[in-house]
Each structure stands twice: as structure tokens, then as C-alpha cells.
């Protein structure tokens, strides 16, 4: 089984969680990661630049129509929903907020599930609302691999709890456990 993409949904507590994941990813980690982190509409994306300096992988904001490429971490731009097309390019929309959020994790996950089917890994991390629960369900229905942060280890337990209430994931663990798990999966791939 070759996984072609990882989608991650994260909300409050996300900056600390993403810092751990980004720092742990080796330069050869090739599966692209696509991330919705809930941020304010006026956020200038400065944090992406800061994270980029500390990561061995390229971290960038996802551009409209951009092709998803290996070894890259893409972040949804503030105030837009991020969707994945079947030709593995990005679309942006300004549709209504979903779960009070734009970008919404559900919107990314549901479109990613359609685009990648069983070649997708979905991850729900710390957060204080229930965005992502529907999306991770859709990923499971389409045969993808599902991972949820152990609520006991999350800065905000609400979002991982809501996801666990929705599905029985393939893997539950701390951020470190999740990193180890992803590295193992990527090893198998090669």
C-alpha cells in the first residue's frame, strides 16, 4: 500500500503540536502533508515562514490550482476553504464557514477522501471544536488510514474526542507516537 498524501486538521493548541511534527520530519519524508490550522481571517501567515526555517521539508501556503508535490507541507490560507481536486491540485473557495471555521477541516478532508480514496492518511489533532469529525469519517469510508491524537495528550481534548466519538481510528497516540507511526509507514513504502 502506497500512501500518497496526509491531511491534518488542527485547531487550538495547533502551533505547539505542528512545531513538534514539523521538527521531527526528516528531509527524505516524501508523502506530502496538507494542513488546516484554524487561524483568524486576518492572519498574515508569518508563522509559516517561522516554521519553514525550522523544518527540513518545505512548508508553504497552498496556492489555487497548485499541483500537490512530494516532500512538501502545504498550509490552507486564512479565510479560504482548501479543497483537493481529483487531479491532485488545490482549489480555494470563500463559501460560508463550516463549523464556524474557514478554512474548515471537514471541507479539506471530504474532498481529499474523494481525490485519494484509500491512498490517504487523515489525522485529527488538538482543538476546541468538532471540525474534522465528519471529514475523518469520510476518509475512513473511502478506505483511508485514520489517526487521532490521544485526547489525554492534547492541549485541547475536544476535537480529538469528537473524532473518536465518530469513528474507531486505525491509530491513537501522542504526537511523538504519531510521528513514529508515520515514519514507519513511510519506511514500508520504500
Amino acid at each position: 500500500m502506497q500512501y500518497e498524501a496526509i491531511v491534518i486538521g488542527v485547531s487550538s493548541g495547533g502551533m505547539n503540536a505542528l512545531k513538534i511534527i514539523f521538527a521531527a520530519m526528516p528531509a527524505h519524508f516524501s508523502i506530502p502533508m496538507i494542513i488546516v490550522q484554524h487561524v483568524g481571517a486576518q492572519s498574515d501567515g508569518q508563522w509559516i515562514t517561522l516554521f519553514n526555517d525550522k523544518s527540513q521539508l518545505e512548508i508553504k501556503e497552498a496556492d489555487e490550482k497548485e499541483k500537490i508535490k512530494k516532500g512538501t507541507i502545504f498550509i490552507a490560507p486564512p479565510n479560504y476553504h482548501l479543497l483537493i481536486e481529483k487531479d491532485k491540485t488545490f482549489s480555494l473557495t470563500i463559501d460560508e464557514r463550516v463549523n464556524y471555521a474557514r478554512p474548515s477541516i471537514d471541507v479539506l478532508f471530504e474532498s481529499a477522501a474523494e481525490a485519494y480514496k484509500n491512498k490517504l492518511i487523515g489525522i485529527v489533532l488538538t482543538g476546541a471544536n468538532s471540525d474534522g469529525a465528519k471529514g475523518i469519517t469520510r476518509i475512513q469510508e473511502c478506505g483511508g488510514l485514520t489517526i487521532i491524537q490521544d485526547p489525554k495528550t492534547a492541549e485541547s481534548a475536544y476535537m480529538p474526542k469528537a473524532a473518536i466519538a465518530a469513528i474507531e481510528p486505525n491509530f491513537i497516540g501522542s504526537l511523538d507516537d504519531i510521528v513514529t507511526f508515520l515514519l514507519k509507514i513511510e519506511q514500508q513504502k520504500r
Binding site: 490560507p77 479560504y80 470563500i94 463559501d95 474532498s111
Partner: protein, 274 residues
């Protein structure tokens, strides 16, 4: 073309049906977006599959117009992206001032908030009297609301903040009167706005203009359709005319990249070359 996924084929047939019956063309919209909107409507209206919904679309006009509303995005704000309006004031207004009369096209104006924002800005810059704003959309219901110029007061706080951040010179409250839960925009703002039904996908050039604003519309289109609409814009602009796109939209991947210079790249303001 062969379809691997049955629902992709059903969506494609549904869009074909809408186009042939009603003339609205969503066939070259971004597919992930269209799929999302259609599946939402299917769930809300309790259909079992897309084929069932297609039959309803063809035979029930009220349902068809409901679906059209779903497929037409009308999310907008007054002075959306204040930094963009600040740039308009600082970089575009001085260019517009050199013309004896000014024509502006707001393409895809939805419920009109940005057209009113423009009217306010032009009034403050002393240009409104010699300007015509063509505010167009294919969504007639949205246009009707735009014409009324009545907006919910729930958002006024945000709009006021946007206005101030954009470099507004007056008190924002001087541009509307409150009426129960709504605000009514001043009549004087509407004076030179021409509201018209125009479909970017199927209609053609209708005027030669000095400035086009089309923000967060092209993101819904696929590459091919984006190119077609860019042709329409290019042919509608005078030489030296200005094109303003949404903050995440670009002309880089279209055929027209070479034909514009950048007036403000960050705010996506481009100038048609002579």
C-alpha cells in the same frame, strides 16, 4: 471520456442538464467545489442519488432555482480585505483621476457590498460624480438584494473596522441609516451604479472600462474557463486599464500574464500594458 467514478459521471450529466435546460454553465467550475455543493443539496433535500435530483431539476423550476442559489456563492463583505482598498486609494485612484470620466466594472458583485464600498471610496476621493459603476452578477436574486442596498446590522461593526483599516476618511455611519435590524445605504451611493445581469461564463464584452474588480470569482473556475474570462477582461479594459483580483488569485497561469504589469502584486492589482 470514460468515468471511473459513477458519481463523477452523474455530476457531469447534471451540470449538462442544467446548462441545456436553463443556460447556466457550471461545466467548467472547479469540480471539488461543485461536488460539495451538490452533495450538500442532495442531503438537505433528501434525495437518494444525483440521478434522482437531476430529474427534479429538469421538472421543477423552483427546485432548479434553489440549486442555482447553492451553486452561486454570494459570500462578500464591505471593504473586504482592507489592505486592498487602501492600495486602491493610494495606487489606483491617482491613475483614475487622470480621466475625464471613469467606467468601473464589478464582475460577480453578488449582493453588492463591494460596489457600495467602491462608491464610498470614490465619493471621498471626489471622483464619484464622473464615474459609472457596472455591477454585474448572474444571480438575479443576489442582484435584487444589491439594488435594495439593505444589509443586516449584525455585520456593521466588522464593516466599520474594515472601512477604517482601509483608510476611510469619514465616519462609516454617515453612509447608512439604521432601520430596526438593518442598515439602509444612502441613496446617493446608488446614483451611478448600474446593476445588470451578466454571466461571465456565457456572456461577452459589454463596455470598455478603466477598472475591473473581480475578486474571489475566478477561484471557482477551472484553468480553461479562467483563461476564457481573462480574455473577456482583457478585451473590456482600455490600454492602461486596471485589473483587480482576489488576494489568492493570479494571472500567472493564464495566457495573459505577459500582457499586464504589476501595480501591487500582494493586493493582486495589475495594469494592462499599452
Amino acid at each position: 471520456m470514460r468515468y471511473k467514478d459513477t458519481s463523477d459521471l452523474e455530476i457531469s450529466l447534471l451540470l449538462e442538464a442544467i446548462y441545456r435546460k436553463y443556460g447556466y454553465d457550471f461545466r467548467e467550475y472547479s469540480q471539488a467545489h461543485i461536488r460539495r455543493r451538490i452533495l450538500n443539496r442532495m442531503a438537505l433535500s433528501g434525495f437518494e442519488d444525483i440521478a434522482q435530483m437531476q430529474s427534479m431539476v429538469l421538472n421543477d423550476v423552483p427546485f432548479a432555482s434553489e440549486l442555482l442559489q447553492d451553486l452561486s456563492i454570494t459570500v462578500t463583505e464591505m471593504f473586504r480585505d482592507p489592505a486592498f482598498y487602501r492600495s486602491l486609494r493610494e495606487k489606483v485612484i491617482p491613475i483614475l483621476k487622470t480621466y475625464p470620466f471613469i467606467k468601473i466594472w464589478h464582475a460577480g458583485c453578488a449582493t453588492g457590498e463591494e460596489a457600495y464600498s467602491m462608491a464610498i471610496l470614490l465619493q471621498e476621493e471626489g471622483l464619484y460624480e464622473r464615474t459609472t459603476i457596472y455591477a454585474t452578477d448572474f444571480n438575479q436574486l443576489a442582484l435584487n438584494r444589491a439594488k435594495e442596498g439593505i444589509f443586516s446590522n449584525k455585520l456593521i461593526k466588522e464593516y466599520t473596522s474594515n472601512y477604517q483599516l482601509s483608510g476611510g476618511k469619514e465616519s462609516f455611519s454617515s453612509y447608512y441609516t439604521s432601520h430596526y435590524d438593518n442598515v439602509i445605504m444612502n441613496q446617493s451611493l446608488k446614483k451611478n451604479i448600474v446593476w445588470a445581469n451578466h454571466n461571465l461564463v456565457t456572456d461577452s464584452v459589454f463596455a470598455e472600462v478603466h477598472l475591473i474588480l473581480c475578486r474571489n470569482v475566478l477561484i471557482y473556475f477551472d484553468q480553461n474557463l479562467q483563461n476564457k474570462v481573462q480574455t473577456l477582461f482583457y478585451n473590456s479594459l482600455i490600454n492602461g486599464g486596471i485589473l483587480s483580483l482576489g488576494s489568492k488569485e493570479s494571472i500567472r497561469f493564464t495566457d495573459y500574464f505577459e500582457h499586464y504589469s504589476e501595480l501591487d502584486l500582494k493586493q493582486r492589482i495589475f495594469k494592462k500594458k499599452y
